[in-house]
């Protein structure tokens, strides 16, 4: 009995378990749902519950047939709306990522340079917005951007503009919302990699005649590259499929893939087409990511080895 218990406890604390837990989690909550969506994408549209037909069917005694319906994918190809919204999602997400990088980098750099005492407080402030509901924070932007909102009222009163600017329900508002919501995801990994940089390296660069901008370009940026990549991925990937922000701030103009998926699922009740769209989007994102990852691994190897 005791022996068995020892075996169990040594298994629980073994490095094997450290691998099993996260991979088990991924299998359960990512891979299985993924295969369910993949399955639906190859099925027929059907009225009823669930609103799609089965893939596997017993035709006669002992014969199992598999029916893969590619027409969902073909349908997506026929309507340019899907491709356009894919591209628009990517564009908006890219603009959001660039915005986060431009705002986040100086903030992370500043954080890494402040005294440890202040750093804790400032890091707290970076994550503070997470303490309020995400939805609430996006709603707040409606109040700021709407025709009678904060910005327009201010500008009208100051006499800078004669009639309210259209800020809400634009692509601009969506990008702004993404930058606002995802900024902490950019700052934290950037800060982590900037904080690790040995600042005698920047002194060495100054000493060798590099002016501040050159030092930034040739030493600080390359050494914080892992942070730039990690932050950009953390912002880019979820914001491509973002639904809440374009729905609330982008209006009917902004066609992001998240909204389109919503429409397919809940307005058209066409689960198979919606699933196909989701799968295509995933492939669309994974391929460039995989290539990039490969490239980055080669770049970063020298930093990790020690």
């Amino acid at each position: 009995m005791k022996k068995a218990w020892n075996k169990v406890s040594s298994l629980v604390t073994s490095p094997f378990m450290a691998l099993v837990l996260p991979y088990g989690w991924s299998l359960l909550f990512f891979l299985i749902p993924f295969f369910i969506v993949l399955k639906i994408s190859f099925s027929d549209l059907k009225m009823g519950l669930p609103p799609y037909g089965p893939l596997l069917e017993w035709v006669e005694e002992g014969v199992l047939t598999i029916r893969l319906n590619f027409s969902n994918y073909a349908f997506i190809g026929t309507d340019s709306l899907y491709l356009l919204s894919c591209l628009e999602s990517l564009l908006i997400a890219l603009l959001g990522t660039i915005g986060c990088l431009l705002i986040g980098y100086p903030m992370a750099y500043g954080l890494s340079k402040t005294s440890p005492r202040w750093r804790t407080v400032l890091l707290m402030l970076v994550v503070l917005p997470f303490w309020t509901s995400f939805l609430l924070r996006v709603y707040a932007w409606i109040g700021i951007l709407s025709p009678h909102g904060f910005i327009n009222t201010l500008l009208l009163k100051a006499g800078i503009i004669a009639s309210p600017l259209t800020l809400l329900d634009t692509t601009f508002a969506t990008v702004l919302g993404i930058i606002y919501c995802y900024l902490p995801f950019m700052i934290l990994p950037l800060y982590a990699s900037l904080e690790k940089i040995d600042f005698t390296l920047t002194e060495a660069a100054y000493d060798l005649g590099a002016r501040p901008f050159q030092v930034f370009l040739k030493v600080i940026i390359p050494l914080s590259f892992p942070g730039i990549i990690a932050g950009s991925m953390l912002v880019l990937i979820p914001s491509v499929g973002e639904f809440v922000i374009p729905e609330l701030l982008g209006g009917s103009q902004t066609l992001m893939i998240g909204k389109l998926l919503w429409n397919e699922f809940f307005t058209n009740h066409d689960w198979p087409v919606a699933s196909s769209l989701a799968i295509l989007m995933l492939i669309f994102l994974i391929i460039p990511l995989a290539i990039f990852q490969q490239f980055q691994e080669r770049q970063v190897r020298f930093l990790d080895e020690d």
Binding site: T200, E203, A204, L208, Q214
Partner: protein, 378 residues
């Protein structure tokens, strides 16, 4: 690179010689903590100057002010006649070799060395040529394509040296350049570094806490303590003629006898010392009147040991051998005088251990020559 011979003349003794590096009353305080306190120092072209002192004595701060990483609170720094006190680090004809070497981990050895040249308007061909020359100088050509993390500590040190020399600075600063190497490699590198300095003819200023390193490598050295330069001189001057007890203690070991001046003349000083048990005769004058309390110091290797009494009466005493430290080439005898004072005397082991004339508990006579003793007044 151009070859120059090591300076045979001693420009610091020539009143008309123009200093190449000049610090004038340079001070630095960090929020009330004085790190460097009114240091005035002249260094001449081609010198290998060492700043020696314990950690926290301000030597590194002084070096960082020369590099341009710190701005002096007071005073001025001139390099080749130009006031560089407030010039940023990237705008000074000075390069530094960092204690941690500070090689850029994302660049190859070649890129590291070429980095400084790329900041100037130099043709690509020349950058390549000079980088190659510089790597050749430190025998690291074969490793040009490697990354710093693929090199050993000694190899990193060479690359750091090549990188700081490639721009042909007017002044090269070295911050504890050998501290990260193991003892054997360090000794070997000391001479290499001196040879390279002679070859390139660049003025070197090195910071170190290792007195042996400073003694073997420098043309002159400055001993620092609490932000002040206590004494500047050639290794020989510092060792043989320390001005103060601090410097005498810091460099090597030394025997000190307390006493009172009983005769103070232009050419000699006579000190009566209960501690030594004899009159101490010093054949140079000192800033001490009759009756003044002074310390007379003598280096252990200058103290001779004999089993029979010497002819001289002054600078001669006797005691019992308490301990013998055998170091192979030399032995250190710890001799206890009648006053209880322990005197160290170093003797070369001319004969094998078993045959030596003096051993434990023997009564021995100690004596030394008048010109070898030093009067310490502070």
């Amino acid at each position: 690179m151009q070859k120059t011979k090591r300076i045979e003349v001693q420009p610091w003794q020539d009143a008309k010689a123009k200093p190449y590096i000049h610090l004038e009353e340079v001070s630095k305080d960090f929020r009330g903590n004085v790190a460097v306190d009114a240091v005035t120092l002249s260094i001449f072209q081609g010198e290998f100057f060492s700043l020696l002192g314990p950690s926290g004595c301000g030597k590194t701060t002084l070096l960082r002010m020369l590099a341009g990483f710190e701005i002096p609170s007071q005073g001025k720094i001139y390099i080749d006649g130009v006031d560089v006190t407030r010039r940023p680090a990237y705008d000074r004809p000075v390069n530094m070799m960092f204690q941690s070497y500070a090689l850029f981990p994302h660049m190859t050895v070649e890129q590291n060395v070429a980095f400084g040249l790329k900041q100037e308007r130099i043709s690509k061909a020349e950058i390549k040529e000079r980088t190659k020359d510089s790597l050749h100088l430190v025998q690291m050509e074969r490793f040009a394509a490697r990354y710093p993390n693929q090199l050993s500590g000694g190899q990193c040190q060479r690359v750091a040296l090549a990188r700081s020399l490639v721009k042909r600075p007017k002044l090269l600063l070295l911050d504890e350049p050998l501290a990260a190497l193991d003892k054997k490699l360090r000794e070997q590198t000391q001479f290499e570094l001196v040879n390279i300095q002679e070859e390139v003819g660049i003025t070197f200023i090195m910071v170190t806490h290792d007195q042996e390193e400073a003694m073997t490598m420098s043309s002159r050295l400055g001993v620092m303590d609490h932000g002040r330069l206590r004494q500047i001189g050639t290794p020989n001057e510092i060792y043989e003629y320390p001005h103060s007890e601090y410097v005498a203690d810091f460099i090597g070991s030394i025997n000190k006898f307390e006493g009172h001046v009983i005769e103070a003349e232009k050419d000699h000083l006579l000190v009566e010392s209960m501690e030594a048990g004899c009159e101490l005769y010093v054949n140079h004058s000192a800033d001490a009147p009759v009756g003044a309390y002074v310390k007379v110091a003598i280096r252990p290797e200058k103290v001779m040991i004999a089993t029979s009494p010497p002819e001289q009466k002054r600078n001669a005493t006797k005691g019992i051998v308490k301990d013998i430290g055998y170091l192979g080439d030399v032995s250190i005898y710890h001799v206890e005088l009648a006053s209880g004072k322990i005197v160290l005397a170093t003797q070369p082991n001319l004969v094998r251990l078993a045959e030596r004339p003096v051993t434990w508990k023997d009564e021995v006579y100690l004596f030394w020559r008048a010109e070898n003793s030093i009067v310490l007044t502070s």
